[in-house]
Symmetry: C2
Subunit: 705 residues, 2 copies
C-alpha cells in the first residue's frame, strides 16, 4: 500500500539509520558486490540486527541466513537488494508484503541500459510505490552512515578507514563519488554520510540530502551532480540549508551542455541549461565547485568553525611572488586585499626585517627560515586589523621547523578569533596532520587557498540575507482567468496584462483598417511605429513588418496598407489580426528581457544587453522567479557589459534601480502566471532618461493546469 | 678587466659546471647559509676541487680552509660568495684579481632593501664588470646542477634527494622556487638544473636559462618569473628553445598588474603589462602556466617522449561524469573530443558492457572494477582511431588491482605509439610510482590532465611552424631620415609614411586657409571631413574639432572657420597648423589599431574592435613586431567579439585577410622605425567592403638613436 507523506519520511529516516538490516541476495564471498555490505557491517561494528537472505546458505559468518524475504523474522528498517535485475521487482513487492518500507538497490540493468531498461525502471518505481517501499537506486553503490556504522554499500570507499565527520556527501555518480570520498579521506575530511543516488527512480539527490541535512552532527553538505530533474526540490534543499546555516557545495558536470533549449524565439535559444543551473543555485546561496579538487578545498574551509564578517583578506607570506599570485586570484574571486591600517603598519615595521614588505600581502621574506617567530607577531597584527576578516599564511617546506611552527600557529589561533588558513606548499605530512588536529586547515597551493576562502566569505555573506528569501510575495494562480487560449497572445492583450502588473510598456493599439490606424496615431499625439500583428509572425522585421517614426496621416495610412501587403505576400497562410500602432519610445540603451518556463527550475527571467552584444557576446543573466529588486540589481551587476548602463562615450547613465524593479515585478507576475506562461520576450526594452520601456512583446501561453 | 663576449660565455659555462669551487665566507656550521653549500657538495659527491675561504678556520671537514681569496691555490671556475653585504664588492674585486671569472652571491642586503641597497647593487654590477667577474645574484639561493653534483646553494630543496632529470628550472624567487622544486621532487620529476636568479644585477633569468638549455640532458625548460626587464633576451631564449625543439613553460605572477602604462593616448592606456607579456610569449611558442601546480602538470606531460600530431583527444573512463567534465574542459582549452570512426565504434561495441558508452568519451562503467581488462581493448581501439592524437584514461582507487592495471597500461603502451596519460584519482602511491617507472605519466585530477595535454598539443603544433619565425623581413634603421623631430607628427606627413609602407590611409591634405580647404574638397571629388590639426590637440572630438560629411563649398568654407574658432577658444595656447581635409571613408566596422614602444618587449602592435567594445570590454589583442599575415589572422581570431567581422544582424562580413595584412605591414614598418617610433594610434580604422582604411592617425616619435 502506498505510503502517506509522513510514513514515507519515516521510512527514509529509518533507511538512513536502521535498527535492523536485511541483505537480499547476500553472499558469503565478501569480495563480491552482494558480499561486501555484510563484511563492512560486521567489521565496522554495526550495532543493529542483520539478516542475510539467500536460499543457498543457512548461515553466513555466524549469522542465520534466511531462505526468502517472507521468512524474515521481522520487518527490518532497511533492505539491501543485491539480486539480478530481473528479480528486483519481485523482491521489492515481497519486502512490501513483509512490512519493510525502505530498500537500497545495488542491482544494475535498468535505465542505464537504454529504453528497455528505462521501461523496467518505470515499472519498478510504480510497483515499489504501490508496495509502500521507498527506494534508493537502483544501480547505486548504496550509502554509508559513518556516525552509526551503517555500511549499506559495496563501494571501494568503505574498504578504508571512514571516520565520521561533519560532511554529508551525496553523489549521483558511483565511480566519481567514490573517488571524491577517497580524496576527502586522504585529506582527513570526515564524511558523516556518503550516499550514492544511482538511477533515482524514487529518492532523488535533493530528497536524500534533505534526509540527512538536519542531523546536528552534519555541518556541511556536498553534492556531486550529473543532471537534475526536480529543480524545486533542489531549491527546497538550498532553502533548508540556509535556514540551518549549513553551506551546500555542489559540483555539476556538463558545463558546456550541447543541448540548447528547444525554443522558437531568438532569445530563448540561448538559455543553455547549465547557465540557468549556475544562476539559480547562486541565487539560493549554493556554492558551486568547478571540480572535485575545488569542492574538497571548499569543504575544508567550510568545515572549520570560524565565521568571516567581510571579504577583507590578509596575506602573510615568506615569498613576495606567492603573495602577488594570491592577491591576483583574490581580486578575481571577489575578495579584497585591503591596505592595512596605519597602526597595523607601525606594528609590522617593528617586527619585520627591514627588507620585508609591511603592506598587504605582508612578505616576511627568507629571514623567516631562520626566524619562524617573525610569523606570530606579523600574523597577529594583521589579523587584528579592522579591515581584515580572514587570513592566509603562505609558507613552504620548513621541514626542520615543524615543532616550532605548529606551536606558533597554535598561539596565533589563540590570539585571534577571525578565521585564518595555512597554505603550506610541500608541507611535511606530519605538520599538516598536527595542524589539522588543532583545527587549523592547511592548503597546499596558494590559488586554491584563496578560492576556498572566497567560498567561505560568500557563504557567510549570504547567511546574512536570511529574511530575503521569505519576504517575497506569496503567489496564487487563482487570479488567472480560465478562458486563456494556448499559443502566441495578442500584443495588445499581453501588453495590457503586463502594464497592469506594473511593467512599463510602450502604449499600443490594434488597427483593423487604415482609418483606425490614423485614429490611433492621432490619439498618440506624436510619432508612432506600425507593426504587423499576427500570431504566425514572431520576427516581424524579417518580412519588413515594422515601420518606424511615422508622424503624418498619409504616412500612417500608406503604412497600414504596406504592412498588410507585405505580410500577405510573404506569408499568404498567416492569420493577420491587423496592424499595431505604437507610440515611439526613446532610449539610448537596448535591453532584452525574457521569461522561460524551464523544465527543471520553472519560471526563469533573463536580462541581457541588446543588439550585437546579446548575439555575439551572449551577455545575459538568469534568475528563478520570483525575486526582489535587490536581486534585480545583482543581475545587472553581473552583466559583463553592465558598465554601459552607467554611460560611456558621453552618453548619460540610466537608472539601474528602475530596470531592477521592472525585472522584479516581471518575475513576480511571471511566477503567478506559471501554470500558463510558457514564454515571454520583451525585445527590445529601450532605456532612456525616463527609465525602461518594452517596445516589443511576444507572449506564449500553454495551460498546464 | 671586463670580459669579451666569448670570455663571458665561457665564464657562465664554467659557473654552471665548475671543475673547482671556492666558498668565500665558508662556515663549519653546516646548518648556516654559509655552511650548507659545503655540506651539500660533500654529501652529494661533487667530483671537483673545493676551497673554503675564511680566516677563522684552518680547515673545514678535512678540507684546507684559506685565509683569503688572494691565497687561493688556483683560479677556481666558480666562487660562492656568502659574506655580509658590506664585504661583497671587495670580495668580487679580489676574485677578479685572482683570475676568478664567475661568482654566485648568496648575500642579501642589496636592491631588496630600497634605494640605498639599489645604489649598492649598481656599484656591485659596475665593479664586477670591471673586474671581469660574471655574477649570479646577489640575494639568491644559488643553483644546483644535479647532473654533475654541483650544489652551489643553501636552498632547503638540496636537503632531500635531488635526482637529476630532464627539466631545467630557473626561478626569480628563492622561496617560491624552492617550493616548486620540492613539489617536482614529490612527483618524481627530476630537475637537472635548479637555478635561483636573485636580484639579477648581472645574469638574468633568460641568460641563465640560455646557459643550460643546450645541454642535451635537458628536454624541458621551466621558469618562474616575477618581473622582466629584458624582453629581447626572453624572445631569444624562446627562439632558441624552439630551434632545439624543447618546450619552455613559464609561470609569471602579477597578472592584475595595477600599473597601467603611462601613456597619453587613449588606446595606449589599456596596454597592461601582463597582457602584453602573455601575448608575446604565446607568439613565440612559450607555454604559460597559471600557477605552480599547472606548471608541474605541464612539465609531466612535456617530459614524456611522445609527440602529438593533432588536437584530437580520446577519453576513456570508468565514470561517465568524469568523462563529461574532461570533455568540457577540453573544449575550453582548444582540444577537440572528436567522434570516433565507425570501425572504432564497432570494435568498442564488441568489448564494452552493453550499458557502457562507446562514444568519445568512452565509459567502460563500473564493470571495470570487476573486469579491469575491459580497459586494454577499449583504449587500444580508441588510440588507433585516426581522429585521435592523444588519450586520457580516467580511473579511481582500484587498490586491489594495481598489479593487473600496471600490466594493462604497459601493454597499452606497447600497442600504440601515440601519447596517452593516466588520470588515476586517489591512486595507490605504488601504482603511480610503477607507472612512472614505465614512462607513463599519471595525473590525479581530470581537468588538470586535460590542461596538461593541451600544453603538449600546443607545443607540438607550434614546433611545426619552424620556418615562420625566420621568414620575416630583416630590418634596418638606416632608411629613417636623421632630421626627425620628437613629438606628435603632422598628420599629412605621418599618413604619407604609412601609405608608402602599404598601410591603407584615408587621403588627407592640410589647409591653411578656407580657400585651401575648398580646393582640397574639390580635389577630393566627394564628401570630406574637416579636422583641426595641432600637435597639442590629440583628442580632436573633445573640443568639437571634427566636422563630417561636408560636400558643398559653403559648408567647407564655414567649417574651416568654425574649427579654427573652436580650437582657439578651447585651447588658446595650442599651436594650430590648420585644418585637415580628408576624403570620407566607408565602413560598417570600426577597429582600433595601435603601436606602442613597450619598455620590455619593444614595438608592440595592438588591434581591437572600436567604439564601446574597446572601451568597456577591453577586447584587444597584442603582438610583438614584426610579424606576418598568419599572425595577423591569429590576432583577429583571438578577439572575443571577432565574429562581428564575419557579419551579424544582416551586415556583410569583411575581409579578415586584408586587415591581417594591414597589421603585418604595420608591424614591419614599426619594427623598422623602432629607434624613433614611440607611439602610433590609428583610431578608428573603418572596415567596409573595400577593406580597412585608417581615418585618423596620431604618431609620436622620440629618437632613441
Amino acid at each position: 500500500m502506498a505510503l502517506s507523506l509522513q510514513d514515507r519520511n519515516n521510512a527514509v529516516k529509518h533507511m538512513i539509520n536502521p535498527r535492523s538490516i536485511a541483505i537480499i541476495g547476500a553472499s558469503a564471498d565478501f569480495s563480491k558486490v552482494n558480499g561486501r555490505p555484510l563484511k563492512h557491517l560486521l567489521e565496522k561494528g554495526y550495532a543493529g540486527r542483520i539478516f542475510p537472505v539467500n536460499p543457498k546458505y543457512t548461515d553466513i559468518a555466524g549469522l542465520t541466513c534466511y531462505e526468502s524475504i517472507h521468512t524474515l523474522p521481522e520487518a527490518v528498517d532497511l533492505a539491501i537488494v543485491a539480486v539480478p535485475a530481473r528479480d528486483v521487482i519481485a523482491s521489492i513487492e515481497a519486502l512490501g508484503q513483509r512490512g519493510v518500507h525502505s530498500a537500497v538497490i545495488f542491482s544494475s540493468g535498468f535505465g542505464e541500459m537504454g529504453p528497455e531498461g528505462k521501461a523496467q525502471e518505470q515499472e519498478l518505481a510504480e510497483r515499489a510505490h504501490a508496495a509502500g517501499v521507498v527506494l534508493c537506486g537502483p544501480n547505486c553503490l548504496g550509502f554509508v552512515n559513518a556516525f552509526d556504522n551503517i555500511y549499506a554499500t559495496f563501494s571501494q570507499y568503505a574498504d578504508g578507514d571512514t571516520g565520521a565527520g561533519p560532511i554529508a556527501f551525496v553523489t549521483q555518480s558511483g565511480a566519481f563519488g567514490t573517488a571524491i570520498a577517497a580524496l576527502a579521506r586522504q585529506r582527513g575530511l570526515g564524511l558523516g554520510y556518503f550516499i550514492n543516488t544511482g538511477n533515482q527512480v524514487d529518492l532523488t539527490f535533493s530528497e536524500l540530502m534533505l534526509a540527512v541535512i538536519d542531523d546536528p552532527r552534519i555541518r556541511v553538505a556536498a553534492g556531486y551532480l550529473e543532471g537534475l530533474n526536480d529543480g524545486a526540490a533542489l531549491v527546497r534543499l538550498a532553502e533548508r540549508c540556509h535556514e540551518l546555516g549549513k553551506p551546500l557545495v555542489l559540483t555539476k558536470v556538463g558545463r558546456k551542455a550541447s543541448g540548447m533549449r528547444a525554443a522558437s524565439s531568438h532569445t530563448g535559444a540561448m538559455a543553455v541549461e547549465d547557465v540557468v543551473f549556475d544562476a539559480v543555485i547562486r541565487q539560493y546561496g549554493v556554492l558551486r565547485a568547478r571540480n572535485e579538487e575545488q569542492m574538497l578545498d571548499m569543504l575544508e574551509a567550510l568545515s572549520q568553525d570560524r565565521v568571516t564578517s567581510g571579504n577583507g583578506l590578509g596575506i602573510i607570506t615568506q615569498s613576495g611572488g606567492a603573495g602577488v599570485m594570491m592577491a591576483d586570484r583574490a581580486e578575481e574571486v571577489s575578495l579584497s586585499v585591503p591596505e592595512l591600517a596605519q597602526t597595523t603598519q607601525i606594528q609590522l615595521d617593528e617586527v619585520m626585517p627591514s627588507f620585508g614588505a609591511a603592506g598587504n600581502p605582508v612578505d616576511v621574506t627568507g629571514q623567516f627560515v631562520a626566524h619562524p617567530e617573525l610569523l606570530s607577531k606579523s600574523v597577529v597584527a594583521v589579523m587584528a586589523d579592522p579591515n581584515i576578516h580572514v587570513g592566509i599564511i603562505w609558507l613552504q617546506l620548513m621541514t626542520a621547523h615543524v615543532d616550532k611552527l605548529v606551536r606558533i600557529f597554535s598561539e596565533i589561533k589563540a590570539q585571534t578569533d577571525k578565521p585564518f588558513f595555512v597554505c603550506w606548499v610541500a608541507a611535511p605530512i606530519e605538520a599538516v596532520k598536527r595542524l589539522n588536529d588543532l583545527g587549523i586547515v592547511v592548503f597546499g597551493a596558494g590559488e586554491r587557498a584563496v578560492e576556498a576562502v572566497s567560498a567561505l566569505v560568500k557563504f557567510n555573506a549570504f547567511q546574512k540575507n536570511k529574511p530575503k528569501l521569505k519576504a517575497l510575495p506569496s503567489t496564487s494562480s487563482e487570479e488567472i482567468s480560465k478562458d486563456l487560449i494556448d499559443g502566441v497572445q495578442q500584443t495588445v492583450q499581453a501588453s495590457q496584462w503586463l502594464s497592469t502588473a506594473g511593467i512599463p510598456m510602450a502604449p499600443v493599439a490594434l488597427a483593423s483598417s487604415a482609418e483606425e490606424a490614423v485614429a490611433h496615431w492621432l490619439a498618440a499625439q506624436g510619432p508612432v511605429a506600425l507593426k504587423i500583428e499576427s500570431p504566425d509572425i514572431i520576427h516581424k522585421t524579417e518580412i519588413g513588418g515594422v515601420l518606424l517614426n511615422l508622424n503624418d496621416e498619409t504616412a500612417v495610412r500608406n503604412g497600414y496598407q504596406t504592412l498588410m501587403h507585405r505580410a500577405t505576400s510573404a506569408l499568404p497562410e498567416a492569420k493577420l489580426n491587423g496592424v499595431l500602432v505604437q507610440t515611439m519610445s526613446k532610449g539610448h540603451i537596448e535591453l532584452v528581457i525574457g521569461v522561460q518556463r524551464d523544465p527543471v527550475f520553472g519560471i526563469i527571467v533573463m536580462v541581457g544587453l541588446g543588439g550585437i552584444l546579446v548575439e555575439v557576446l551572449k551577455d545575459v543573466v538568469f534568475r528563478r522567479a520570483p525575486f526582489d529588486v535587490d536581486e534585480g540589481m545583482q543581475m545587472l551587476g553581473e552583466l559583463r557589459m553592465g558598465s554601459l548602463l552607467d554611460g560611456v562615450r558621453g552618453q548619460p547613465g540610466v537608472d539601474r534601480k528602475a530596470i531592477a524593479r521592472m525585472l522584479a515585478d516581471l518575475s513576480v507576475w511571471a511566477h503567478k502566471m506559471r501554470p500558463v506562461l510558457l514564454e515571454l520576450d520583451l525585445n527590445p526594452v529601450l532605456v532612456g532618461n525616463n527609465g525602461p520601456v518594452a517596445v516589443d512583446c511576444v507572449m506564449v501561453l500553454r495551460d498546464e493546469r
